[in-house]
């Protein structure tokens, strides 16, 4: 098998990242170029990112349950706290209990995920978020130079972007895509490496690998006027294809217009993708995905499952794939009590159904899904909701997950309304204690990325102790 990551590609990747202020020394990474074990993978693995767009309210997702912390939680958000009695059925019992008797319960709406946690297929990541380097305390945050903090903390677009790119807004590659860059050439058709039924995403955009967009219901959409005669005319059908896919050039042979050129390339990929995937995609999933009510996450994940089922089809031959699904309206500044539960229910129902489908396909140990969001939210309420925060709670689900456990440390909650906790930078916005880079690197390592390549893909990783970069929630 050929080495997928050419020196030229990797140089390009490294150069692009070094244009940011987050780059590790280049020479270090380039020394290992071409040695990547990942390049020769022959088994199948997939990562599935579940994006909760808008900044999921983490404190009503994983709720403090022990008496001391529940009391603080209820005090900070009196009108929107989930009743303790409602939490009892979803109290989590991790394999390793937290220090000091600290306990957490899943939101009642996440009950469909409880069997996965108890069964060891789901891990819970505590206080994870964007970081460039460790920030030890609120005092350290107050005096930190701008270069050591993610840009525009608490801003949706900026933090959503940084979460995916680990670089500032305007950075046009994400870590899912950068991981995929290493594997795309090992797939039978690199087009089917990064796939989204939720539109384009920064996360899936590498330096050489881009998002292939599909419909959550239709999969690859055929262009009627190119795949069949246009109003009865096969001549017009042919011209339609030429006009919409050709790279129009000026007299000197250069591209006549870059916007037109870019558009035509998208149409070309649409046609190519549909020719292959349209023929290979199974009509249905093996199991039944329950319909979701507030989002189409169920449809998106069932479509991802169908694409995974077609991984070995002629013209696809995928060994490594990265997917992204997503749903919005998690920005619950108000009415969190009525708005968030149906959204969380959609997440839980869909992810549980997806795991069941992967089991039915026999690839439950090869596929790992995980949640991300813009940021966490304030513990402190604004009345009937919460505002933009920082550290949050996320889940990883799959047969390769070291589940039934918590990873990381929850933040110490503020002892009173008037007194902030040590990691609290205001209103219960908590400095993360696990960087997204470490989370991604743990997944990447499972995927087959070498430690050296991880340092290039995750430019902030070098700022964390080598011994703690892998969070340990994935099986070797």
């Amino acid at each position: 098998m050929t080495k997928p990551a050419s020196r030229r590609e990797f140089l390009k990747m490294a150069a692009a990242l070094s244009a940011t202020r987050f780059a590790p020394p280049l020479a270090l990474n380039l020394a290992a170029l071409g040695e990547s074990a990942a390049a020769t993978a022959t088994d199948y693995k997939a990562l599935v990112c579940v994006f909760m767009i808008g900044g999921n309210d983490n404190f009503n997702t994983l709720v403090p349950y022990d008496a001391a912390n529940y009391a603080i939680y209820a005090q900070q958000r009196p009108a929107i706290a989930t009743a303790m009695s409602a939490l009892t059925p979803t109290l989590l019992t991790p394999a390793t209990a937290l220090a000091g008797g600290e306990q957490f319960a899943l939101a009642p709406a996440l009950a469909p995920l409880l069997p996965l946690f108890n069964g060891g297929q789901m891990a819970v990541l505590l206080n994870i978020g964007t970081l460039i380097e460790p920030i030890a305390s609120a005092a350290a945050y107050a005096s930190a130079p701008a270069t050591s903090l993610p840009p525009q903390l608490f801003s949706h677009l900026d933090q959503r972007s940084f979460y995916q790119a680990e670089g500032p807004i305007g950075n046009t590659s994400g870590w899912g895509g950068r991981i995929a860059d290493l594997f795309a050439a090992g797939n039978g058709n690199s087009l089917f490496t990064c796939i989204s039924p939720n539109g384009d995403s920064l996360f899936l955009t590498g330096l050489n690998t881009g998002t292939y967009s599909i419909s959550p219901t239709g999969g690859a959409i055929p262009i009627q006027s190119i795949v069949s005669p246009l109003f009865g005319s096969s001549n017009c059908q042919g011209i339609m294809k030429t006009l919409t896919t050709a790279q129009r050039t000026a007299a000197d042979g250069s591209l006549a217009n870059l916007f037109e050129s870019t558009y035509a390339k998208v149409v070309s990929r649409s046609l190519l993708g549909e020719q292959v995937l349209g023929a290979s995609l199974p009509a249905t999933t093996v199991t039944t995905f329950p319909a979701t009510t507030k989002t189409n996450l169920s449809a998106q994940l069932s479509m991802v499952a169908r694409v995974i089922a077609a991984r070995n089809a002629s013209g696809i031959g995928a060994t490594r794939q990265v997917f992204l699904v997503g749903a919005g309206n998690f920005d619950t500044h108000n009415a969190v009590v009525t708005t968030q539960p149906p959204l969380l229910s959609d997440v839980a129902v869909s992810m549980a159904a997806f795991y069941a489908e992967m089991s039915a396909l026999g690839v439950q140990n090869n596929v790992t899904s995980f949640t991300v969001s813009d940021f966490g939210r304030t513990l402190n309420s604004d009345g009937d909701g919460s505002d933009h925060g920082w550290g949050s709670v996320h889940f990883a689900v799959g047969g390769a997950v070291n589940g039934n456990d918590f990873y990381g440390m929850p933040p110490v909650l503020p002892p009173s309304l008037a007194t902030a906790g040590p990691l609290d930078v205001g209103r219960g916005r908590f400095i993360p204690t696990m960087a997204v880079d470490r989370f991604g690197a743990t997944l990447g390592s499972w995927f087959g990325v070498s430690d050296t390549d991880l340092l290039t893909i995750f430019p902030n990783l070098v700022n964390f102790n080598a011994g703690t970069r892998n969070l340990g929630f994935m099986k070797a």
Partner: protein
């Protein structure tokens, strides 16, 4: 466009017999004299000519008159004016016309006097005229020919269509003609559009229309207000206001379905009416108006936000406080007047932030105490959602606010505080370039030059954000009309899918009656990317709209050249297929059971035995002439193989031509 280019007089050499009169006949010459010709009464012209040449010969009426001499043809606004010298003994003159100097000439009318105005002309076409004189004894020979190309206001059809693509939703042939007819081109067109009152005759406001159709009190409405908006966008004659209003909904985003108000349809109708009412006012008025609407108040959740409560521990909602700065006025990084980011002198790799979290916290205090106006609630169910919010002093935080380095004094009322806060935003150096550049992107081009942004931003500043001045500056800038940008490989703007749809609907007259609520409802939500447009008004997935102004599609030549292309944020393998399928179906079947009205172009389907005329006209109407001859030839070669001898075949050729045009990247990228 200056006056000197307005009058177009073309002339072919005079016949030898009339040469002596040349000096006295107004013909092609300096601009001033051309204008004089165009504005002088015809009678004065012909008498001038007559006097100068002494009235011609003195033949008796027993014989046919001699051929008229001194024929002049003056191009005007969608017309050509002819004048000639009298032929002795003539009782009538016959005017004939051709489109080549050699003819054949066919009669276009007769005149008893020595002048004639031909109004059945197409601007941009060169016409050749001859005149013959007649009396009872017979008909003279034809005069020597004179030529003129009507080209109103200096705008060709293609130029006018390009203006309408920027300032409107494109236009039908009549719209193009009307713009060409303007005495001062886009300037007088803008004046005319600015003068159209909000909700012109026959067009109800959104709230009034919802009331008239019993939709205003529908609980949890989304479809009703959406119908009302489609009605406005497609059928309202104040097309500039509608185009700007659409751009404002892209900026001040709300999503009806995400608004947690019982009467959210009424709320959004009112919000839309406020955008329209203030579209030609000041940007400050817009910010004030939007900040009072229950639709925005609930969508960005400051409605019912109250001051911090030390007992319960709740804090003011930060949502609108942040987004009014980030999205509606300033952006997150400090800008130069030309829209480029300021360089941080201490570390060029770190952008200079416009504001900090403390500014958000202070601004959040401004947006406390805002409630629905209970006094409005009695008019009809939902009336309080369709009225300005009011500030309730008991919920308002009266303490001092420190926003962007300025103090808003303690003790002011909620209204006074809001006005002060928006005043601070209006004074910030970011607002002019931040807003100006986005409006340019919405209307004209995705990558305005720094100079273009700077020119518009300067107008923004000097007029305190006067929208008429800003819109005028954007649409009359030399860059908007630049012919160079037609061929610049880095210039352009992917047309918004919604604008493409509205363009089709307006040009081909989706004939819903303004009052037919059920018909307008059939358009519905077009935001499904794999089956429809991937974009629809009032359906944005969140406050960040469907795409962002700074977006550049990765791994493309656009990205490699640092070119922003916002609309590519919703352009992917799935959505291009969805669009192409949607538009094909739309063209053939219309929408909501109402087909497009193609009567204006149907006669061109096989004119001259081929599709060339059809394609030429569609290229102007739809693509402002921006589809290359090479592509048109390719289309024609395929289209001409469709037999048009049956009505079905004729329709097929028309539909196929329109589908090809509306799917070709040369159309999709507005230049």
């Amino acid at each position: 466009m200056n006056a000197s280019s307005n009058a177009m007089i073309e002339s072919i050499p005079w016949a030898p017999s009339t040469e002596a009169c040349d000096a006295t006949i107004p013909v092609a010459g300096p601009a001033k004299s051309q204008m004089a010709v165009r504005t002088a009464p015809i009678a004065a012209l012909s008498s001038l000519a007559l006097a100068a040449c002494g009235g011609g010969g003195g033949s008796p009426s027993a014989s046919a008159p001699s051929a008229p001499s001194g024929l002049s043809a003056t191009a005007g606004v969608a017309q050509v004016t002819l004048a000639w010298m009298a032929s002795m003994g003539a009782t009538s003159y016959t005017i004939s016309r051709a489109t080549t100097s050699a003819g054949p000439f066919t009669s276009v009318g007769t005149s008893a006097s020595t002048s004639f105005t031909d109004q059945s002309v197409t601007n941009g076409t060169a016409y050749y005229y001859v005149v013959s004189a007649s009396n009872a004894a017979g008909v003279s020979a034809n005069s020597a020919a004179a030529a003129a190309t009507p080209m109103a206001a200096g705008l060709s059809r293609v130029q006018a269509a390009r203006v309408l693509a920027q300032a409107a939703f494109g236009g039908a042939a009549t719209d193009i003609q009307a713009l060409q007819n303007q005495p001062n081109g886009i300037h007088s067109w803008l004046t005319q559009q600015f003068a159209i009152p909000v909700n012109p005759p026959g067009q109800l406001s959104n709230v009034a229309w919802m009331q008239a159709n019993n939709l205003i009190s529908v609980m949890f409405d989304t479809a009703g207000v959406q119908s009302s908006l489609w009605r406005k966008l497609i059928s309202s004659p104040d097309v500039l206001r509608q185009r700007v209003m659409l751009a404002l909904t892209d900026l001040f985003v709300v999503n009806t379905g995400a608004i947690q108000l019982t009467y959210r349809g009424a709320a959004v109708a009112y919000y839309l009416d406020q955008l329209e009412a203030n579209a030609f006012g000041s940007f400050k008025d817009l910010l004030m108006a939007v900040s009072h609407t229950p639709a925005m108040g609930q969508y960005l959740t400051f409605l019912d936000s109250v001051k911090a409560n030390p007992v319960t521990g709740t804090s003011p909602d930060e949502n609108y406080a942040r987004e009014i700065m980030q999205l509606f006025s300033l952006g997150v990084v400090q800008l130069n007047l030309d829209g480029t980011a300021k360089i941080n002198p201490n570390d060029p790799s770190v952008a200079l932030a416009t504001y900090a979290q403390t500014d958000v916290l202070n601004m959040a205090k401004v947006f406390t105490g805002w409630k629905l106006d209970a006094t409005a609630a009695n008019a009809y169910l939902g009336a309080s959602a369709a009225a300005d919010m009011v500030n309730n002093p008991s919920g308002f935080d009266t303490t001092e606010k420190l926003v962007l380095g300025q103090s808003i004094a303690a003790g002011l009322s909620g209204e006074q505080t809001l006005e002060a806060a928006i005043g601070i935003l209006m004074q910030h150096p970011n607002i002019a370039p931040f807003i100006s550049r986005q409006f340019i992107q919405r209307l004209v081009t995705s990558n305005p030059s720094p100079g273009y942004v700077s020119r518009v931003a300067t107008v923004f500043q000097s007029t305190q954000g006067d929208m008429k001045s800003i819109i005028t500056a954007i649409l009359t800038d030399s860059e908007a009309a630049s012919s160079q940008l037609l061929t610049d490989p880095q210039a352009g703007k992917l047309r918004e899918p919604v604008v493409r749809f509205i363009q089709w609907a307006r040009i081909f007259q989706v004939n819903f009656a303004p009052s037919d609520a059920a018909a307008w409802a059939k358009i519905g939500d077009l935001s499904n990317p794999s089956t429809k447009l991937g974009e629809s008004p009032l359906q944005s997935p969140n406050v960040f709209f469907f795409f962002q102004p700074g977006y550049t599609p990765p791994q493309t030549a656009l990205h490699d050249n640092g070119i922003t292309a916002p609309e590519f944020g919703i352009t992917n393998e799935s959505s291009v297929a969805g669009y192409m399928n949607f538009i094909k179906n739309l063209i053939a079947n219309g929408i909501g059971g109402v087909p497009g009205n193609y009567s204006a172009v149907q006669p061109l389907v096989n004119q001259g035995g081929n599709s060339a005329a059809l394609l030429a006209e569609l290229n102007v109407l739809i693509a402002a002439g921006q589809i290359s001859g090479t592509s048109l030839n390719m289309m024609q070669s395929a289209l001409d193989t469709i037999d048009t001898s049956t009505s079905e075949g004729s329709n097929n050729r028309l539909y196929a031509a329109l589908t090809l045009i509306m799917c070709t990247p040369e159309y999709l990228v507005q230049k």
